[in-house]
């Protein structure tokens, strides 16, 4: 049976579910192939922590290592400012997918729309819905990926449901180091 998303409200009704990737290197390979990736960060990153370290900091590590621009959603910008990080753009979740679905959008850097969008830390039902927008209306010009500990059927590439914090932490740290190696 296909993987069932951790939150059952996100169960796939259809046949086109995300490819599950397990190893950080698989993610790295896709990220480094992308010409204009974008990292969309959500407010759940403020709530999650792994061994006392905020998951937001893991996310920022990844952005920095791979030099990926950031879009801050909801009220995340304030915390980023505190951490002395200036997001490349501020849109809410539904707004960023609204512009992303337009192939002619200029992108957060004004260099053209993105070809890989990585979602991380948006409430899982909303994130899956946002991914649905792109799956249906932007599939020709971009791919989507998630780094949350849940399976998102509407993404192109997703982790599976990760039940142990230890494994998730190992994944995020592994992703950082594999991106570093690649860089």
């Amino acid at each position: 049976m296909a993987t069932v998303p951790y939150h059952r409200v996100n169960v796939l009704t259809g046949i086109k579910g995300a490819a599950i990737l397990e190893k950080p290197e698989q993610f790295t390979k896709i990220i480094s192939k992308a010409e204009r990736p974008l990292l969309v960060l959500g407010p759940r990153l403020l709530e999650w922590s792994l061994d006392g370290r905020s998951v937001l900091e893991h996310a920022l590590d990844i952005a920095k290592t791979a030099n990926i621009p950031i879009c801050a959603t909801a009220h995340l910008k304030g915390k980023l400012t505190e951490l002395e990080v200036t997001p490349d753009s501020v849109y809410d979740a539904v707004e960023i997918v609204n512009v992303l679905r337009d192939p002619d959008w200029k992108g957060v850097k004004g260099e053209g729309n993105h070809d890989l969008v990585i979602f991380f830390g948006i409430r899982s039902d909303l994130q899956n819905q946002c991914l649905s927008v792109l799956k249906h209306f932007a599939y020709k010009h971009l791919k989507t990926m998630t780094l949350d500990k849940y399976y998102f059927p509407n993404a192109d590439f997703s982790l599976t449901n990760v039940t142990k914090d230890k494994s998730w932490k190992a994944f995020l740290e592994g992703l950082k180091s594999s991106l570093q190696t690649k860089a």
């Binding site: 409200v9 086109k16 009220h75 910008k77 927008v133």
Partner: protein, 775 residues
């Protein structure tokens, strides 16, 4: 008659000619000239819709990838595939949205039709509509949409029959193989939802007139709320749903038999609000999210259901705790025996001795049975709540498997609270209870059979609160007073918190009310939102209803009433155009909606929107030009209306100068928008109250709130789109001038002329002349 002939007759009946419409709306009575769209059909306001949809394009997030509506299917609609009928994924979403809006519209229209028939039976068709001394514009939605000025209950019938007819046409279009355009489906959804406001208005005017609900008064009684307010030593009757036809008769029965102080009547969802409009002795248990909890306490000796938003498993739930159940409306029969014609004593006997449930569609009989059964069952009630010790013991069964979190629609783990409870710590559970929307899925799924609801009951607060009884329509006198400050912007906005209780956190609503009332917005509420606003107290023990005045004025907190009372909120916006700006209402929807969109700083907030009724209420506000902010669950409605502020065209017509003006100002930015967090909503709401006709003083006030709320809830400097809302330096709030000026210089901001009389009319093909927007 042959089938074909019969069909022809039906079509003839349904397709009324203009002449017939003029007859229905009594066009000869010239209270106002008949406008361009009396009783509009599907296409009459289509050009207005298309203009709205040009700026606020539909955003579709399919909830499923398939369509399974006909036997050609299932059809996979991913990656530009079309169904066997030819439909694409966007159009399919729009079709589902239309269906949802039609369900919502039908629920209210059928409620209206039922209550109207019942009240006409009781009072006769000529019963006059009198909304009290301070309300002359008695039916703003009906006047504006249909062109009819209803004077009697019979007149309301014309309005609701028009709605029925339109529903049939719209529903027809959702059949396989018809409409092929997502935008046209949207136009139809907007039409259905505008009709919903007509249906709601019919229902509530009928109720106000027929049941003598409060009207033309602001300080309606403060009624008790919370299950702690129930005197458990008395027999308890619980009413659940939306239609007060039976609950009011229960109150009558108790009054007539001197039982009002001997039997408790309490309610959940809108019937609760309606019943407290009828009797201030009735009590509100709480919103829909508290339904299963209360039912499962078994405190209710008799449960009476009517319609909409009721648990569909009520017979089993009632039996489990030994409560008796009476279904009082044909829409919800639960497979029960219809005892409407049965001898009363026999029903009572079978209900009390054999524990049978019945449907009783005759209100007087249902009321008598309910009272008598409650009195018989109450002494036998043996439903004890868990002690803390027992709760702790049961909680120990939890293995922390996480299944409850996986099925929870609010995505949180009640299991965490349960594992803490097993350790004797009840605090976490108390907090989690505020996130719980009471669906019961966790308990159903728990592999260990942990009785999660009973454990929550042990932790839940028995505190009581106050909610102001719903007051119905906003008074014309109030509109006269606030019309100018609202359109000039010096009252920064009207915030309408409405809809269901699918909240990310129940406390958000009271916080929003408090924040905006303190800032002198006008805050109005209906339905479950009106209840939960009262379920938080400040440090002095006051709810927002005790803290703020009940007037429709700056800083007022106004409980308008139930779901159907939402028509009075759209009605208030319409009345501003009419009473303050002297625009005629009669069959003049396009002009009025244009006025509201461009000049009335109002914003709806359906933070816990869940039902299809919420879909139609919200979409109806959208057609009228009122933006709506929704909570995160609402992305599952599949469709929003969003603009792209930087790229979109913000040109309006300046009606005085007859010039097109490219304002570059995205006001309002979106009309149907989902915020993920309360913090984000707190920033978006004040922004969506900005309108192009704000005076510099008004704009300064609005921007002051926008900036200060931004700083409070986000931090990190100034709003990134602030410059788009500053026309001239005079718009900048004084307190922020020092910070804003250098920012504007840095980004190369240039001043622009404000528009005198902004309107969409003249920017798109419309039959309405520009002159008609000038008052």
């Amino acid at each position: 008659m042959s089938e074909k002939k019969e069909m022809k007759e039906l079509v003839k009946e349904l397709t009324k000619t203009q002449e017939e419409i003029r007859e229905l709306i009594k066009a000869e009575i010239e209270w106002e000239p008949v406008g361009p769209t009396p009783m509009p059909g599907i296409t009459d306001l289509r050009s207005w819709d298309m203009r709205l949809l040009k700026t606020y394009k539909p955003w579709y997030a399919p909830f499923c990838d398939l369509c399974c509506l006909c036997t050609y299917g299932k059809c996979d609609l991913t990656q530009d595939r079309r169904g066997a009928c030819g439909i694409d994924i966007a159009t399919q979403q729009a079709r589902i949205v239309l269906l949802a809006c039609l369900m919502g519209c039908s629920a209210h229209a059928a409620h209206a039709g039922h209550i109207l028939e019942y009240l006409i039976d009781r009072h006769g068709p000529d019963k006059k509509i009198d909304m009290g001394t301070f309300i002359e514009v008695e039916a703003p939605n009906i006047r504006t949409v249909t062109g009819l000025k209803p004077e009697t209950l019979a007149d309301l019938k014309h309005a609701i029959e028009y709605v029925y007819k339109e529903i049939a046409h719209l529903l027809d279009s959702t059949h396989m193989g018809q409409e092929g355009s997502a935008l046209d489906y949207e136009s139809k959804a907007l039409h259905a939802s505008m009709l919903d406001h007509v249906g709601m208005e019919v229902a509530d005017i009928a109720q106000i007139v027929g049941f003598n609900f409060p009207t033309s008064v602001a300080d309606t009684p403060l009624v008790e709320m919370g299950w702690g307010s129930i005197d458990k030593s008395k027999p308890v009757i619980l009413v659940v749903g939306h239609n007060p036809a039976t609950s009011t008769v229960v109150v009558d029965y108790l009054r007539e038999n001197n039982l009002e102080d001997k039997v408790e009547v309490c309610g959940i969802c809108c019937t609760a609000i309606e019943t407290t409009r009828y009797s201030d002795k009735a009590k509100v248990i709480g919103p829909l999210s508290r339904q299963l909890f209360f039912v499962r306490t078994g405190i209710a000796d008799v449960i009476m259901t009517d319609e909409q938003c009721i648990n569909t498993n009520m017979p089993e739930e009632a039996s489990n705790v030994g409560s008796a159940l009476i279904a009082t409306l044909d829409k919800v029969m639960y497979g029960l025996e219809d005892a409407s014609e049965m001898d009363t004593d026999e029903i009572i006997k079978r209900m009390t001795e054999k524990k049978e449930h019945f449907a009783i569609l005759e209100p007087a009989k249902a009321a008598e049975v309910a009272a008598k059964v409650a009195m018989k069952l109450a002494p036998q009630r043996k439903k004890e709540l868990l002690s803390e010790e027992e709760a702790k013991k049961l909680a120990e069964k939890c293995t922390d498997c996480g299944m409850c979190e996986r099925v929870c629609p609010n995505l949180f783990s009640i299991g965490d609270g349960i594992t803490e409870m097993a350790k004797g710590n009840f605090e976490l559970m108390k907090g989690l209870f505020n996130l719980c929307i009471g669906c019961g899925k966790c308990e159903h799924e728990c592999p260990q059979g942990v009785p999660i609801f009973r454990l929550m009951q042990a932790a839940a607060s028995w505190e009581t609160w106050k909610v102001r009884a719903g007051r119905g329509a906003v008074m014309d006198t109030e509109i006269r007073k606030v019309g100018a400050p609202i359109t000039l912007g010096t009252i920064p906005g009207i915030i309408a918190l409405v809809g269901c209780s699918n909240y990310p956190d129940i406390e958000d609503v009271a916080e929003m009310v408090d924040e905006f009332a303190r800032r002198k917005y006008i805050v109005v509420l209906t339905g479950c939102a009106a209840m939960v606003a009262g379920m938080t107290k400040d440090k002095d023990g006051r709810t927002v209803y005790e803290k703020y005045p009940p007037d429709f004025d700056a800083g007022g907190v106004v409980n308008i009433g139930s779901c159907v009372s939402n028509a009075h909120i759209s009605g208030a916006a319409i009345k501003i155009a009419n009473i303050f700006a002297s625009l005629p209402l009669r069959a003049n929807y396009e002009v009025i909606a244009d006025y509201v969109l461009n000049r009335v700083g109002a914003c709806g907030v359906a933070w816990g929107a869940m039902s299809q009724k919420a879909a139609s209420i919200g979409t109806g506000f959208n057609r009228l030009g009122v933006p709506v902010v929704l909570g995160p669950h609402s992305s599952k409605y599949r469709r929003l209306y969003l603009s792209r502020k930087e790229e979109d065209d913000w040109t309006v017509m300046d009606a005085r100068k007859r010039e097109l003006v490219d304002t570059g100002e995205p006001s309002p930015e979106h009309i149907a928008y989902v915020a993920e967090t309360k913090e984000k909503a707190m920033i978006m709401i004040p922004k969506l109250c900005i309108r192009k006709n704000d005076t510099p003083q008004g704009r300064g006030i609005k921007l002051n709130h926008y900036i200060s709320l931004y700083k409070k809830y986000t931090g990190g400097g100034l709003p990134e789109d602030l410059h788009l809302y500053i026309r001239r330096a005079a718009d900048i709030p004084l307190v922020y001038r020092k910070e804003v000026m250098p920012y504007l210089e840095k980004i190369g901001w240039k001043p622009k002329e404000p528009v005198g009389l902004p309107t969409f009319i003249g920017t798109y093909p419309s039959k309405v002349p520009i002159d008609s927007v000038i008052h």
